[in-house]
Symmetry: C2
Subunit: 392 residues, 2 copies
C-alpha cells in the first residue's frame, strides 16, 4: 500500500430482515443512522459516494443506483459517484473503492453505502436472480445456486477431514447467539439450541436451514476520510491497515478444490505479508459465513488452524469470545441475514463499534486492536479482505 492513510470514522445500519421498506427507504434508514452518529458532518462535506449493490436491477427494478442513492441521502458528490458490484462482496468492494480513491487523492470524505432489497412480493424474480451469480450458461442452468454449491463443499470436507454436521451446527449456534445481542440482526430475537438446529429442514444435504444465511433486506453506511481529517469525526477511528483480494476461475468445473480455497489462502498471505501481521495478531474477525461450512473452511485457509481442523476449531470454542480468534461477534451472515450489498458494510460497522466499545458485553471483544473482515463471492472463487487497526 502506498498513498495516504485512510480511516473509517462512522457507521450506521438499517434493521436487517424481511422489511416492508423499499430499496430507497433502506438506503435512507442507514444514512440517517450514520449521520445521527456524526453531528460534525455536513452533507456538503461528502465529496464522494460509493454504493455496493449486487442486483438492484433484478431485486428493485432500478439501475444507475449510485446517483439515486446520493439524492436519497441528500448528497451531491462532486468527486466520485459509483456503484460497485461483486455479488456477495459488493459492500466490501465499495469500501475498497473508497479506500483507493482517498489514498490516491481523488476523494477526501467518502460515504460507502451497501444495500440489498431481496424480499419481493413474488420471490420468483429473486430466485431467478440468484441463479445468475454463477456462470449462468454453464452452471446456473444446471440449478447450481449457492446452497447446492456450498453443500458440495461440505460433503467433500466431511469426506476428507471427518467434519460433522454437528460441528457445522455449532457455527450456526455461535453466530445466532451473538446475533441475540444485536438489535439490527434479522434473527435478533430468535433463540436456537444445537438440537433444534439439527432438526431444521434440509436445504441441500448436509446443509439445513440453520446452516444457510437468508434472503434479507438491509442497508449500511460508513464514512471514510483521509488521515488528516480522521480526528475531526472521532477520537477512535479504525485505520485501514491492509487490504487484499484474489480470484480463482469462475466456472465450477475449473475450480481446483472444493475444500481448499486457493484464492482465500493467497489473499490471506498477501494481507499478512503487506501488513506485517499474522493470524495470531487478529483480535477478532468478521468472516463470510454465508453457510456454516464456509466459516469452517475460512478458519483453515486464513491460517487460524491447520487445514482440516476447522470443525475442531469451532467445537473447542476457539472462535468464541475468549478463544484463539473470536469470529463474527456481530452475529455473522447467519444471525444477521445477508443483504448482499449491505453485508460488507455492516461488518465494517461492527469493527468500528467494537473498537469504540459500543457493543453490549455479550459480544464485546475486550481490548480489540486489530480486526479482519472477509467476504467471498460467487463459487467462493473471489475472496476479499480488509484489515483494520484501532486508532488510539
Amino acid at each position: 500500500m502506498s498513498g495516504r492513510r485512510v480511516a473509517l470514522v462512522g457507521g450506521g445500519l438499517s434493521v436487517f430482515g424481511v422489511r416492508a421498506a423499499t430499496w430507497g427507504e433502506l438506503v435512507q434508514e442507514a444514512g440517517r443512522a450514520l449521520f445521527a452518529r456524526l453531528p460534525e458532518l455536513a452533507g456538503k462535506d461528502v465529496d464522494s459516494l460509493f454504493v455496493g449493490a449486487a442486483q438492484p436491477e433484478r431485486f428493485a427494478f432500478q439501475s444507475h443506483v449510485a446517483p439515486l442513492a446520493a439524492e436519497l441521502l441528500g448528497l451531491r458528490p462532486w468527486k466520485v459517484v459509483q456503484r460497485t458490484e461483486l455479488a456477495c462482496a459488493s459492500g466490501q468492494s465499495a469500501i475498497r473503492s473508497a479506500y483507493a480513491a482517498i489514498a490516491a487523492g481523488l476523494s477526501d470524505v467518502a460515504v460507502a453505502v451497501g444495500v440489498e432489497k431481496m424480499n419481493l412480493p413474488s420471490m420468483a424474480e429473486a430466485n431467478t436472480s440468484m441463479a445468475d451469480v454463477l456462470d449462468r450458461p454453464w452452471d446456473g442452468v444446471q440449478g447450481a445456486t449457492a446452497p447446492p454449491f456450498f453443500a458440495m463443499c461440505a460433503q467433500r470436507h466431511m469426506k476428507e477431514f471427518g467434519t460433522t454436521p454437528e460441528q457445522m451446527a455449532r457455527v450456526s449456534l455461535k453466530n445466532h447467539a451473538f446475533a441475540n445481542s444485536n438489535p439490527t440482526a434479522q434473527f435478533y430475537e430468535k433463540r436456537f439450541t444445537l438440537e433444534k438446529l439439527q432438526k431444521l429442514p434440509m436445504v441441500a444435504p448436509p446443509l439445513r436451514l440453520g446452516d444457510c444465511s437468508s434472503m434479507t433486506d438491509g442497508a449500511g453506511a460508513v464514512l471514510l476520510v483521509g488521515e488528516e481529517l480522521a480526528r475531526r469525526y472521532t477520537d477512535t477511528p479504525a485505520w485501514i491497515a491492509g487490504t487484499a483480494q484474489s480470484t480463482d476461475f469462475h466456472n465450477l468445473a475449473n475450480l481446483p478444490s472444493l475444500t481448499e480455497w486457493g484464492a482465500l489462502r493467497r489473499a490471506g498471505q498477501e494481507l499478512y505479508r503487506t501488513s506485517g501481521l499474522g493470524p495470531g495478531d487478529i483480535d477478532f474477525a468478521e468472516l463470510h459465513d454465508c453457510f456454516t461450512i464456509s466459516e469452517i473452511i475460512e478458519y483453515e485457509d486464513l491460517g487460524f488452524c491447520p487445514k482440516g481442523s476447522g470443525g475442531r476449531f469451532i467445537e473447542e470454542g476457539e472462535s468464541e469470545l475468549g478463544g484463539r480468534v473470536p469470529v463474527n461477534p456481530r452475529g455473522g451472515l447467519l444471525g444477521c441475514g445477508h443483504p448482499l450489498g449491505a453485508t460488507g458494510i455492516a461488518q465494517a460497522v461492527e469493527v468500528l463499534d467494537q473498537f469504540q466499545s459500543r457493543v453490549p458485553p455479550a459480544r464485546r471483544v475486550a481490548g480489540a486492536e486489530v480486526a479482519m473482515v472477509h467476504n467471498l463471492s460467487g463459487s467462493a472463487n473471489v475472496h476479499s479482505l480488509m484489515l483494520y487497526r484501532r486508532g488510539n
Copy 2:
C-alpha cells in the same frame, strides 16, 4: 491528483453492432484485440480487472460479471477484481477505478473492460431495462426513458437559444461521417446526407432516428499501468492528466435546468483547474453524443463556446477536423453505437489510437497532444471526464 502517475498503454475493441455474439464472446473479442496489440503482456502480469457494465443482469441474465470476465480472458487477478456500474458512463467508471487503484498502489497492471449486450431475441426485456436508469418509481413509470428526456432538453434549447433541428442533424452527419472511417463502428458503411437525416422517423420530437444513439452490442478493453511500467508496453503512452466528475440530483423534478447541465460545468471547471489546462488546450474531445442535442449542450458547458451558441458551433464547423475543437473523430455514440459499458472504453482506445497515429487520415487529428473524454449518465445528472496527454 496525488499518488503515482498512470498511463494508458493499449486498447482493443470488438466490432460494435447488432451481433450474434453472447456477452462473453464480446468480452473475448475485445480481449483478443487488446492482447494482440501487446505481445509483451503475459496474462499473469495483469494483477487487476475492472469491468464496466451497466445491466448484464437484465441484458445478459448474468451477475458477478467481473470474475466471469477474468476467466473468459484467461486472467486471474490477484489484486483487484470489480465491476462498476454507472449506467451510460460505466466504462469510464471502470477506467477511473483502475486509475485510482494504480495511483494508490493497490494495482500495477490493470485491464479495464467495458461491455454491453443490448440486442436480445426479444427486445421486451431490453426496453424494460432502459426504464430503470432514471428514478423508476417517480420517472420511469411515467415512460421517462432517455429519448423523451433528451427531447425535452432539445425543445427547451430550441426555445431559449434558437437552436434548430438542422443544427442537430449536422452533429449526426459529422459523427456518422467520422464513423465511415472506423471499421468497428455499428454504422461503418452507412452514408447519410443532411436531407436524409431530416427525413428519418421521429422518435421523440424534435429528435429523429438519426439524432439518437442506438441499442448496440459491443466491448472494449484497455491496459493501464503505473508510470514506471509504461515504456515496457509502448513508446507512446497516453498519460492520465486529470479526471473529474460531478453529480446533480436524480429525479427529473429536481433538475435545476434542462439546457445548462450544472454538473458538467462543475466537472469541467474542476478538470481545468486541477490540470492547469483550458478548453483552448484540448486538441480533440470524445464527447457523449447519446443524442445530437447532448453534444451541442456539451460544447457550451465545457466552455468550447458560449452558452446558447452550440448550434452555431457545429454549423460553423468548429467541431470538425481543423475546427476549434474536433469532436468525436471516432464516430461518437451516434456513429459507433452505444453499448453502455463499452462506450467509455472505446473512447479511450480512440485517444490512444490518435496519439499513436493508428487511425486513417479521414479522422486523424494531426499532432494531437491533449484529449478529453466525456460521459454522461442518467438524466444528464452525472458527468464524468478524463484528460489524456500524449507521452513522447
